[in-house]
């Protein structure tokens, strides 16, 4: 009965997902995925991974068996075996023909089909493995991804340098092999050809009066890096969204909040209220824009730059904000930061030139869309393949940053601990502190009653202690003029001081509670009127797509962004080699030249001139203050003295 109602709820609010053109992986049926995989274990040290269950023999039940090994061992699934050279060449040829801008769609389709047929004829003589990977479905030439404006041109030198370092680090770290995405795409296409269906796993959790609907989507592969210039690739990609419902007194179910998982973020920023204009809905179905390759979920269509918050720079960013505020408001000076929207200033946010393309111009799945959802798996009571299998759901690359390792299942982190989104879906989205709409009034009244009770206690305590205090005061007054009772007098004085402080604290608490009771009354009235306050008050820093104006980057700027970091390094080496005696001056000249070129391309020459001049003015001001400090101190003292005299005389003369 419960299962039926869970299914109804899940289907009633199931989301609509808009993908980006060029997306190759969509939510896959769990059974098909597992049955296509083999199970491996990697033991500690240099031991090669061992295959425990080969392809075609793995099932969900088999996966749920207790797999035991040493504590350092890692169990993992492997979805697609590497391609042979011929398979990879055919795939690449198909892809390049599909992307060709110089052929019409029909011509490209014909060419792709021809290549595919040729490969299939060749692969008939191959092994069973090769036949399994045969290219049965040519990619649709009209469904091809184009990156658009240069992503490197959207960020500064520092970010480009960090990006270059990251790319280099891939050479040293473990990573998914280059052909893994192609192999996974072919395997997934074969599964779709046999049975095209799109399925999610649905979970219904009841917590603190909330009904939480969790939609878990499994993608066979995350090809963000190899397919869309992103951060990483990995086999298996679990994504999730939550919808938070409350139950009205008349048994109606009302949606109140949604939270979309986006990479590894958690907290208030993930959450949107159901009436938030940013949240698109089709009927009762919230709309998700999935990042191309990464499958991260976004509320708005667009292209998102990866942001990295550097916590240790936050105090410095706050100080800078304060100084800028003083610069603008007290000195009445112009500042570019003052024109930027709130939350976008501060250098504790570091942009990396990785773009999550969530354009929503590709396939759509969901109610009234190109494709619809198949009946979901209900995992409210976690089946054993979720609760028992703690290994990874795709290939284990032994990446030092774990970024290229496959994730574990919906219930677990990679290290085997339980995910917060699983055991505390409210806390994961910062909703654990918020009651449902229908509980809110009751909660306010409860708090009001508790505080009223406390006020009564406080009144009694203040009365008693005030009585004690006046008694002590009288005792002290009585013994004050008696030298032989000096010690008693001093002791009473000490007691009076302690008691007076205590009473002062109680009175302060009483006054504060009084203000809180008024606030509770006001809040209760607002709730009774159905007012819910601002929909976005909880959001500290929301992901926003790159503005349209910044997407239009000139070809010259793109080229400059692509070569600038390399050119800087070459120029520095050149200076070291040809003019080592003037290395420092050469370094300054190169950096200055590159900054000027970059500013010119970005049409920020005025900003550069202004900022540099203001910085020089500040340095010069510090120099002058240091040089003339005694004189300045004397002038300040004279001015202060004159001002005080003038104020006092003005008062004297009326």
């Amino acid at each position: 009965m419960r299962q039926t109602s869970d299914l109804e709820l899940l289907r009633r609010f199931e989301p609509v997902i808009h993908y980006t053109r060029g997306e190759e992986f969509f939510p896959i049926d769990i059974t098909h995925y597992v049955e296509t995989c083999n199970l491996w274990v990697k033991r500690s040290g240099f031991a090669e991974p061992e295959c425990l269950v080969s392809i075609g023999q793995l099932t969900l039940d088999k996966l749920a068996e207790p797999w035991l090994d040493t504590s350092e061992s890692v169990f993992f699934l492997k979805f697609a075996d590497p391609l042979t050279a011929a398979e990879l060449a055919t795939y690449k040829l198909q892809a390049s023909l599909s992307r060709s801008k110089f052929r019409g769609v029909r011509e490209a389709s014909r060419q792709v089909q021809s290549v595919t047929d040729t490969f299939n004829v060749l692969s008939k003589d191959g092994s069973d493995e090769a036949r399994r990977l045969k290219l049965t479905v040519p990619p649709d030439p009209s469904n091809v991804f184009h990156a658009g404006g240069g992503r490197l041109a959207r960020v500064g030198y520092l970010s480009r340098f960090a990006h270059a370092l990251y790319q280099f680090s891939l050479l040293a770290r473990g990573r998914v092999p280059g052909d893994a995405a192609a192999a996974a795409a072919i395997t997934y296409q074969n599964i779709l050809t046999e049975e095209e269906e799109y399925r999610y796993c649905g979970r219904v959790v009841r917590q603190n009066g909330w009904i939480v609907l969790q939609y878990w989507f499994l993608y066979a592969f995350n090809n963000w890096r190899s397919g869309f210039y992103g951060v990483n690739d990995h086999e298996a990609d679990w994504e999730m969204i939550c919808i938070y419902l409350s139950e009205a007194p008349n048994d109606n179910i009302v949606p109140e909040w949604v939270a979309y998982a986006s990479h590894d973020f958690s907290g208030d920023d993930l959450r949107r209220r159901w009436d938030d204009l940013e949240l698109e809905k089709i009927g009762e179905h919230p709309v998700i824009y999935a990042g191309a390759g990464s499958h991260a979920s976004y509320y708005t269509a667009g292209e998102y730059l990866v942001e990295l918050e550097i916590p240790f720079l936050t105090p410095l960013a706050r100080l800078t904000d304060q100084l800028q505020k003083f610069w603008r408001e007290k000195l009445r000076q112009f500042s570019d930061e003052g024109l930027q929207p709130k939350g976008k200033t501060g250098f504790s946010i570091f942009h990396l030139p990785f773009v999550d393309y969530a354009r929503g111009d590709g396939l759509s799945i969901g109610s009234e869309q190109d494709k619809t959802w198949a009946t979901p798996y209900i995992i409210s009571e976690p089946p054993s393949w979720i609760s028992q299998y703690r290994g990874l759901w795709g290939i284990y690359t032994q990446d030092l940053l774990a970024s290229e390792d496959a994730p574990a299942g919906p219930m677990y982190n990679r290290n085997g601990t339980v995910r917060r989104a699983w055991y505390d879906p409210l806390g994961w989205a910062g909703l654990d502190k918020i009651p449902t709409t229908f509980q809110a009034l009751e909660r306010v009244r409860e708090q009001h009653a508790a505080l009223t009770k406390r006020q009564i206690e406080l009144t009694q305590m203040i009365e008693e202690k005030s009585h004690q205090l006046t008694g002590l005061g009288m005792e002290a007054a009585a013994v004050r003029n008696h030298p032989h009772l000096k010690k008693v007098y001093e002791a009473r004085q000490e007691e009076i001081k302690i008691l007076a402080e205590e009473i002062d604290q109680l009175r302060a608490e009483f006054a504060e509670n009084g203000a809180m009771l008024e606030a509770f009354d006001l809040h209760a009235r607002q709730i009774e009127r159905g007012e819910r306050g601002l929909a976005r008050a909880h959001i500290r820093r929301a992901s926003t797509p790159i503005p349209e104006s910044e997407l239009k980057v000139g070809r010259l700027m793109e080229t400059w962004a692509a070569i600038s970091i390399g050119l800087i390094l070459i120029s520095l080496v050149g200076v070291m080699f040809f003019a080592p005696q003037n290395y420092i001056m050469g370094l300054i000249a190169i950096v200055t030249l590159f900054i000027i070129i970059e500013s010119t391309f970005r049409r920020r020459l005025t900003q550069l001139v202004t900022r540099t001049t203001i910085t020089l003015a500040m340095v010069a001001a510090l120099v002058l203050i240091a040089d003339f400090f005694p004189q300045l101190a004397i002038i300040c003292a004279l001015v202060a003295g004159g001002y005080m005299m003038w104020q006092n005389l003005r008062e004297l003369w009326g």
Binding site: R332, Q333, T613
Partner: protein, 124 residues
């Protein structure tokens, strides 16, 4: 501040700066390269003043550029320990000019639609 007063006050201040740079860095007292640099800067200041009279953005930019270069050269001369008093005087005037040129009223006159949120309403 009315646009007319921006043209006049800004222009006059820049012309004054051009004169000052020319006067306080005489050929006899300083090396040739310093003399040349400050003379070029005084020409730039005159050009900036003309731009100010016509309320051209390039006039404002030239004015700011004059201050930046003037400050840079003065700081270099100062760190070299030469003509310290003259460098200090030049820096002081340039600091004042930077604060003037970057104030909301002045920048607002060169950019339409830019006003300080707390700035008093301007009479037409």
């Amino acid at each position: 501040m009315q646009r007319f007063s921006v043209r006049i006050s800004g222009g006059l201040l820049l012309i004054l700066q051009a004169g000052l740079l020319h006067i306080i860095w005489p050929r006899q007292a300083v090396p040739l390269e310093i003399y040349l640099v400050f003379n070029i800067l005084s020409v730039l200041a005159v050009l900036a003043a003309i731009g100010f009279f016509f309320l051209l953005h390039t006039g404002w930019l030239s004015g700011m550029l004059t201050q930046g270069l003037s400050l840079l050269v003065s700081l270099i001369i100062y760190t070299m320990g030469r003509e310290i008093l003259l460098a200090q005087l030049t820096m002081l005037y340039s600091i004042f000019m930077v604060l003037y040129l970057n104030s909301f009223n002045i920048r607002g006159a060169f950019r339409t639609g830019l006003n300080h949120p707390d700035a008093p309403e301007e009479n037409p």
